[in-house]
Symmetry: C2
């Protein structure tokens, strides 16, 4: 039964498992543990004393694998819903003992083949016994090619240390903790050898002491499916009950949020005061299967985990809305391609935070431009470029009213459907005297006068990626030489991230184009490895005759030294924008505009993930390239290793600039869901080289 009800949470993290020993009576094991409140068991499927090379086991005709139960005794449906197969922990494929190595390979293949036959959803692989794991990984990799649905969870202790300070939670780690420096390194080697196979996942053994936060965070970008908490790792509270340290509590809460499942392991080691406990009568099968279910000996631990789950804040409305977009790749918007639909306008218009910031910016601009003395005489010309259904018009008018300045608004919009709504709005609100609607493609408009203030909202997740610079370079022909552009500047940001999920999703397309395309995505299962750094900045207006929208930057990221080594799958991109003065919008993680939801981050993948050894820095180069008909980014890594330049000549991804006469063919279709909920109105965009005055 689930740990609890949490509004909006439908994730697997509601289910809690328990690790059991081998008993050749699986129905008994299931009855006891499921009735005890657990949702699934992690149980050995084969007698751990079995060895393939024992004389009686060698391929003689009558040999039968000594299993816990067959698919006749427990149905495939039950195996599939309630059992994770635990592969024998004696298996050691990197032993120096050749016989043990050979036996291990045979047993591993037999056990996984058996598990696959039973239709279990996952098998738990024992942790590699040594620092190296190449032969183990090679063998698992061979197996992975032949199983279609089942996941393999590689069990690893959550440690990063060369010392013995971590208490062992399991006898099998005694030999390990002295040798193993950083279990993430083992994982990384293992999965690189297996080429990021999607069915290869991780189960982390939570120890009583935890490594540094930065090193823990690396796991947030990995395919962790389960966190196994041994009863050893629990403290005892004042009333004698098990509980976890504050750091453990925060970690488990984060795990819930990342949809990791909790598994309880070990035996009862807290002496619960008031209640009498019925201990699992392992050799007394007859007493089971009838009457009231026994209280499970690990119930106190389960109840504590359930308490942690139930204590979490419910998901906010915004979080529930974004839930379906988490780690979901969306094709980047091509501006000007299509007219937006009413539904999309409505979603955007709900982002009141964003429009409040615009209103504040217009207030400031009006106060700076028109003194109190001029307030009644001066009429400020304000143009909204890409007015849509009017939110920026409303914000501008409210600003003017707020500061007592008179304005004349031109609302320019090319989408005829939006213009209908805009007209209705103006009539409804009685704005006829103040607002002129220009139902026109900007490219054809001959403005009757010049503007004091140009208001636009053409920003993409990466700031300039939807061609706001090219757009405003063109639109500034309507602006007085001393006029104001809102926004007045914007900057893009980049941050290296680990994201196995997104890397695999990109790679699944099996072509170069997808590996060189940026995606809009609500990043969730992601490890952010360093502070984001500024990339490209644009300022408006920009009347310099030598202005260029090409950019080149080299970034060096220092990953905090206590993180350990990392794997970089790509870069998260963000932006911030100065609307006017100190009024800004931002989705950069260190200073986001709170509760603003119009933009998800952008993700620039790397064709090959880059391993950054502990203490090394990461050097990356980004270019914004411009040709007459298109704009694109190229990027590459030059340290610690050098990768090829990505997206050469915009061969895989570009953003189109419409010329006056020529229409470019659509870029090759990218088979991911089109973005529908984030960013920017479709506004005409102008080629940089066109002479706007003729």
């Amino acid at each position: 039964m689930p740990l609890g009800q949490r509004v909006g949470d439908k994730s697997d993290s509601r289910y809690c498992g328990v690790e059991t020993d081998f008993i050749d009576d699986m129905p008994h094991v299931l009855t006891y543990n499921l009735s005890g409140g657990f949702d699934f068991v992690v149980a050995p499927l084969v007698d751990p004393s079995y060895r393939p090379s024992f004389p009686t086991n060698s391929a003689s005709e009558g040999f039968v694998l000594p299993v816990a139960a067959s698919d006749l005794i427990v149905s495939p449906a039950q195996w599939s819903s309630h059992v994770v197969g635990k592969i024998s922990s004696w298996i050691d494929l990197d032993s120096e003992d050749e016989k043990l190595r050979m036996d291990s390979e045979t047993a591993l293949k037999q056990e996984i083949s058996w598990a696959s036959h039973l239709s279990v959803q996952a098998c738990l692989l024992p942790p590699p016994k040594k620092g190296y794991c190449s032969n183990y990984a090679r063998s698992v990799n061979q197996i992975l090619q032949g199983i279609t649905n089942m996941q393999l969870w590689l069990r690893l202790p959550l440690v990063k240390s060369g010392s013995m300070e971590n208490e062992s939670v399991d006898a099998s780690y005694d030999s390990l903790s002295g040798i193993l420096y950083d279990s993430w390194e083992t994982w990384n080697t293992f999965r690189l050898l297996c080429e990021h196979h999607v069915q290869l996942c991780v189960a982390l053994d939570i120890q009583s002491s935890l490594p540094s936060i930065n090193s823990l965070l690396r796991w947030f970008g990995e395919p962790v499916r389960a966190a196994i908490i041994h009863t050893d790792a629990f403290l005892t509270n004042a009333r004698g009950y098990p509980c976890l340290s504050k750091r453990h509590q925060k970690l488990i809460t984060a795990f819930f949020d990342l949809c990791f499942q909790i598994v309880i392991s070990g035996s009862l080691i807290h002496s619960i005061p008031q209640e009498r406990l019925e201990v699992f009568p392992a050799n007394d099968n007859d007493s089971l299967g009838e009457g009231a279910p026994l209280r499970h000996e690990l119930k106190p631990y389960l109840e504590y985990v359930a308490y942690l789950y139930q204590r979490m804040d419910p998901l906010s409305e915004q979080e529930r809305f974004e839930l379906n977009y988490r780690d979901f790749l969306q094709a980047p918007l091509q501006p000007l391609m299509d007219n937006l639909e009413a539904q999309t306008y409505e979603t955007f218009e709900k982002d009141t935070v964003k429009y409040n910031q615009y209103q504040r910016a217009v207030c400031k601009a009006l106060l700076d431009r028109v003194s109190d003395e001029q307030a009644s005489s001066s009429n400020t010309v304000l143009m909204v470029v890409g007015a849509g259904r009017g939110p920026l018009v409303r914000a501008s008018l409210q600003a003017a009213e707020e500061v007592g300045r008179k304005i004349k608004v031109y609302a320019v919009e090319k989408n005829p459907n939006a213009v209908v709504t805009l007209h209705s709005l103006i009539k409804l609100e009685g704005w006829e005297s103040m607002v002129t609607v220009i139902s026109c493609d900007m490219r054809c408009w001959d403005a009757p006068e010049k503007a004091d203030i140009l208001v636009s909202e053409l920003l993409g997740s990466f700031g300039d990626n939807e061609l706001s610079p090219e757009c405003l370079d063109g639109a500034q022909r309507f602006l007085k030489p001393d006029g104001i552009s809102i926004p007045s500047s914007y900057t893009s940001y980049l941050q290296p991230i680990t994201t196995t999920k997104l890397y695999n999703d990109v790679k699944a397309n099996k072509d170069l184009a997808h590996m060189e395309t940026p995606y809009v995505v609500k990043l969730h299962k992601v490890a952010r490895l360093a502070q984001a750094q500024p990339v490209f900045t644009f300022r408006h207006p920009e009347f310099s005759p030598n202005r260029s929208n090409q950019r080149y930057v080299k970034l060096e990221f220092e990953i905090p030294p206590d993180t350990g080594s990392t794997l970089v799958h790509g870069f998260a991109g963000y932006f911030d924008a100065v609307l006017y003065g100190d009024i800004y919008l931002s989705i950069e993680p260190s200073k986001p505009t709170p509760t603003m939801f119009s933009w998800f981050p952008i993700f620039f993948p790397l064709r090959t993930p880059v391993y950054v050894p502990s203490g090394s820095h990461l050097e990356v180069q980004f270019w914004r390239c411009c040709a007459p008909a298109k704009v694109w980014y190229e990027w590459c890594v030059t340290s610690p290793i050098t990768l090829p330049v990505h997206n050469v000549n915009g061969r895989s991804y570009w953003t189109r600039i419409f010329g006056f006469k020529t229409m470019m063919p659509r870029p090759s279709t990218i088979a991911v869901k089109k973005r529908s909920t984030c960013s920017v109105f479709a506004v005409p965009v102008y080629p940089k080289d066109v002479n706007w005055m003729t």
Copy 2:
């Protein structure tokens, strides 16, 4: 005119070029230099004082690029045969001066576009000005996408040093030699950014001092097209003539062998005693174009280079035979697939060295097995497995005669065509009483008696790769328990190599299978980065019941520290075999059997080249995997970075084992030329698990 006539040498290294300054009269330049004995000029195509951003040059209508000559004045055929375009050396794409950077990008594109229009075969790119070169590489990479045939030669000084000990040969290197530590590093970064583009090559500036031999050797695996020797780098001999140091001489000779072209650069700085020199009258065009050609001022240098060329040994017959196979990928042989043709037998039988070794081995074995006392009474049973047209039969009979022992030979051969020849041979030689021909597939043969000595020649370039182990495991059922197998053991070897040519040839197939397949290849333009190490050893006979032909090894290569950093494209594979006692065959480079030509090395590619920083070691793992129907290798690199396991489950390449009844489908055809000149007779191969006694 070529440097000289060298028997068998048809390579480009016969042609020598000269670097010239910009003169806007290209016919004049060509006449002077070609009549002076040079084969081509490396000449600027555009006035080096030109800058795109000069006001007069900005895209005004009347602007014309200030070129050396057009395609009307010098024909495309002449441009193509006699001119390498030299791109302006002021170009600096990684300058911190943004204007210079922008100008450089524009000029680079204009000059290369112009060169491409003229149909020159190559352009010489100026060396990167700084240690880093990312923006330069990005721009060149963009250009490379758009040119179809022309090569771009990146000019680089041949230096590896942090000190100033290298004399500068060109003013442009003054700023360079202090900063640049190792020009190979710059090259490596550049070409990795350009993703090993096949049209991106190298031209090396030879300095008066040379770095260590190991660091020089790295260039042998790179696409070097030219070595530019400045007159500064020449010494003066006793008679006042230019000459080169011994180390330089060896290097230039090696360059000839690798088909690098020599280019002379600079002015006459040796005062040649006896002859009066006519100096190129640059501003006196009228005096040219008629009468006898002037003696070229650089003629003494050209003559010295020609002397070095002519001094080389002529190519041996074996070298001339192998010339067409150099760096040419061949599909590995699938044993048992086809019967060999007479031509192939004939080629193999010419390898007298190999059969001499077999004869010596049989001699030793007979002497060990039969004492002098028993010589007249004992009749030794010797079976030749895979007798072909009889060379091993002949070697065995000659051995018996040599040591005065009596033998009875069974010659087992499945190819009925070869059996015809074998019968003729026996009749011709009068061997009827000693040799029994078994025209039979070994799989069907019921031997009438057991053998004392089993002679076979089933080895591939990598020893066991054509299934000699599986074969001899089966054939040993004919062998007495104390019988002798010739060969008695064999070992494979591996060695990391740089080989841009082979990597690009493999990659050109654009699929995974080719990147995971070993190839037989006569390695030539290759840098061997470390001593070869032993990999898998097999011994015969092997009567242990637990014998397995699976193998696993982890190799660690230490690259000599004075080499510097390297790029590993894959591994060269070799073998040696102990025929009997101290008689062996070997193609391992440190101890090859001299003039034996039956085997070329094997090449295991890596899907991604691995950069090994100076001082790091390279760790690689190799597996020999066996299934009932096939045998294959898997391999991976685990340090300094981890690559995916290659050829998982033999998905891309395997060697087939025929069962008794089932025939496996052919492995997917690999579109490279089938090996025809090297290795091994097609002999029946047996599945390991079949019980041979029934």
